[in-house]
Subunit: 433 residues, 2 copies
């Protein structure tokens, strides 16, 4: 039984109880959210070392870290190290996007090491096994890979099932065409074979497999825009409408489902995009990449997209897929994975505050108190990256040649510390009254 099927029957599962505890909600509230489809708990029945995580607007906003090696451009064997870095930095979900050889072995290693839900894009393994020959892909083989991954314990799978043959020409009008790796694979297969999307065609069969192992579908946005110029276009929204249909088919079969979204989108278009997904996709949790709000900052796309992701979290997204400083230039190393995760913890949290999620600001208020009181240890304990904050502060102290006291802000120095001065003012104000 999937979490969705259980919820509909009124059953509160162990996973729901854990999510409820983590979110400060009642188990029944979580159950109801899962039953409605507005929340999902991606958790393959075989991934037994995984702690359940809820995705949905009634929960805190979650972040995902993409990992996995590429054929030509990644160091080998360090994916487990990056996984540890991502989990340590607070990633709620991870995806293995490896292509090339030994994918099942890499994935098994990550499943064993990850106590958080793991996702994949099965068509990557499929095409890797065909040595990159996309037109030759047998749809039955693709389904067999999905089945093997479901049996192995993958918690959620990106399936580009809503990219329709008839919508491909719309994407060909763009400056950047199709920039989704999975989307481009599906589209080439369709165009080369003059055939409809094989995932769409075999959807019922796929549903049976996923329901058996409670794999959550993440409906891929194969036609997401690859530059601002292409954002929010007819290709993107044609696919989104189809994803809405697939949401209903998933739910009808008891399969949990979320929807993936843009992409490169100007800052002012984000709210509209979030609202449209909620409307067209029947409030299925929205899982967004960025969005990228300018194309001119390669090397800093974690910042570029944290801006977009904050707006996305504010206006409708439930899960934010991180982007690292390496985006558009290479695959991230361990430090870049860390940087990406922190940028997205910031975005998720700032979004939760902005949408007035209950208690979201508590930690900020505690930080303010610690700053007011010059309690440096407490400030670092409350920081998203305690070691980094402490080290930077210690550097200031090491450079200081006058005063090593802790009773003032480390920027202005003791004599000019506004917080110190403010306390004197408070005393003066008290004397007046």
């Amino acid at each position: 039984m999937t979490q969705l099927q259980a919820a509909r029957k009124g059953i509160v599962t162990e996973a729901m109880k854990i999510v409820a505890a983590d979110e400060g909600l009642s188990p029944e509230a979580v159950r109801d959210a899962v039953a409605s489809g507005e929340a999902v708990i991606p958790l393959n029945i075989h991934h037994t070392n995984c702690r359940p995580v809820g995705v949905g607007r009634m929960f805190t906003t979650k972040i995902n870290a993409n990992l996995g090696r590429s054929v030509t451009h990644s160091g080998k064997g360090d994916e487990l190290e990056k996984l540890a870095i991502a989990l340590n930095a607070g990633a709620d979900f991870v995806m293995d996007l490896s292509v090339g050889e030994d994918i099942p072995a890499i994935r098994q290693g990550m499943l064993n090491a990850s106590n958080r839900p793991l996702g994949t894009v099965p068509v990557y393994e499929t095409i890797s096994r065909l040595d990159g020959d996309i037109p030759q892909m047998d749809p039955a083989f693709l389904v067999s890979v999905i089945k093997a991954q479901a049996e192995q314990g993958v918690d959620f799978m990106t399936l580009h099932a809503g990219l329709m043959l008839e919508d491909i020409p719309k994407a060909m009008k763009r400056r950047m065409g199709i920039v989704s790796r999975g989307g481009s694979i599906m589209a080439e297969w369709m165009m080369a074979n003059r055939a409809q999307n094989p995932l769409w065609e075999r959807w019922d069969e796929i549903m049976d497999i996923l329901a058996e192992h409670d794999v959550t579908v993440s409906l891929g946005d194969g036609l997401r825009s690859g530059c601002l110029m292409d954002g929010s276009d007819e290709a993107q929204f044609a696919e989104l409408a189809k994803l809405g249909e697939l949401v209903e088919r998933c739910r009808a079969r008891g399969v949990q489902v979320m929807v993936e979204g843009p992409g490169h989108i100007a800052f002012d278009q984000i709210k509209m995009n979030m609202e449209r997904e909620q409307e067209l996709c029947h409030k299925a949790p929205f899982y967004v990449l960025g969005p990228v709000v300018t194309d001119i900052a390669p090397g800093y796309d974690h910042i570029v997209t944290a801006i977009g992701a904050t707006a996305a979290a504010t206006y409708g997204a439930s899960l934010l897929c991180y982007v690292t400083p390496a985006e558009h230039l290479g695959l991230p190393d361990g430090d870049e994975v860390h940087q990406g995760c922190i940028a997205y913890k910031i975005a998720a949290h700032a979004g939760d505050i902005a949408r007035h999620h209950p208690h979201a600001r508590d930690r900020d208020d505690q930080m303010a108190q610690a700053r007011h009181d010059f309690c440096w240890d407490e400030q670092f304990a409350l920081a998203l990256d305690p070691a980094h904050a402490r080290n930077r502060w210690l550097k200031t102290r090491a450079n200081s040649d006058v005063d090593h006291g802790d009773d003032h802000c480390s920027m202005c120095g003791k004599q000019f510390c506004a917080v110190r001065t403010s306390k004197r003012i408070e005393k003066l104000a008290t004397q007046t009254n």
Copy 2:
């Protein structure tokens, strides 16, 4: 004659012509914007090596880099190096916030080295010369420092003239009190002397000095919030209303004026804050610090505030004061100055795109074309930080053990490059028709 006085007389100054050329506007349009007070061109008549820069909503959004050493916590003698880094990274304005000894000499060095407008907070020098004894400050001495700085060539000055004695108790109710360094100085002086704000009291005299040298006033927000909990409170808005009065007094005297703003403000409050400033301050250009949208990420406040700054630029700000990764922990070193500038170039640009500023997206569209065409050199030339982007890409190539070709994206590798695949799809699509 100030730029404002000239504009009102229908004169197009040399500075207006340069701003017009930089902004792609007619000189008359710039003149009209300056005449209305909706734009300013901070440019002291003595700062002859300075290239004029326009601030206002009809121009692109500008960024400011804060520099200057503190008494206890900064390396000595490296402010000129940081200035060069800031200008090289694209800072449109710089401020010297030094406290301690030798401030006029530090400032003269920066004026000589900066071809961009330089700002100060004169009360810092004033109190430094009094060895930190705030209550003993003679208002006449403060005015004399303002005069000396104006004569030296300072282009704009932050004056916390709208922080009124009667509003201080409102700030004392907060968790963080007063966190503006200049604001806390003014407030302590007022409370210790039971006297009204000396800048407010001597405003006409100050106006005469500033008009003579065409120093632009930047009305300081001494009561800006220091944590999310304190954001958008009565203290902040009481001061903002007073700043609106001062805007009118500046304009009446022919003095250019802009207004400074928050601070720590939740993401969802930024639009309201921008609109309120435009309304209360008669459309004077808004110069904002951040805003900071969460308090829990010390070490990453350039990212935290780039998020807020993008929203600010979208909804009403004209000048963004950068925040560096060192914020809340120390004064920035050269690399942190660079990081802060780039984060704010991103925010300013993303905001310009979001508010549909004419041609704002052109460079992004060129980047998209360069990406589509795998023109790497052009991508780096278009990047906000070309050297950083190129170095990161070269690292990818150095790590690659298979294919050093340039005709594919450096993330997925040649076989899985979506842009390559997309081009094959385009070919297949053409064959259909």
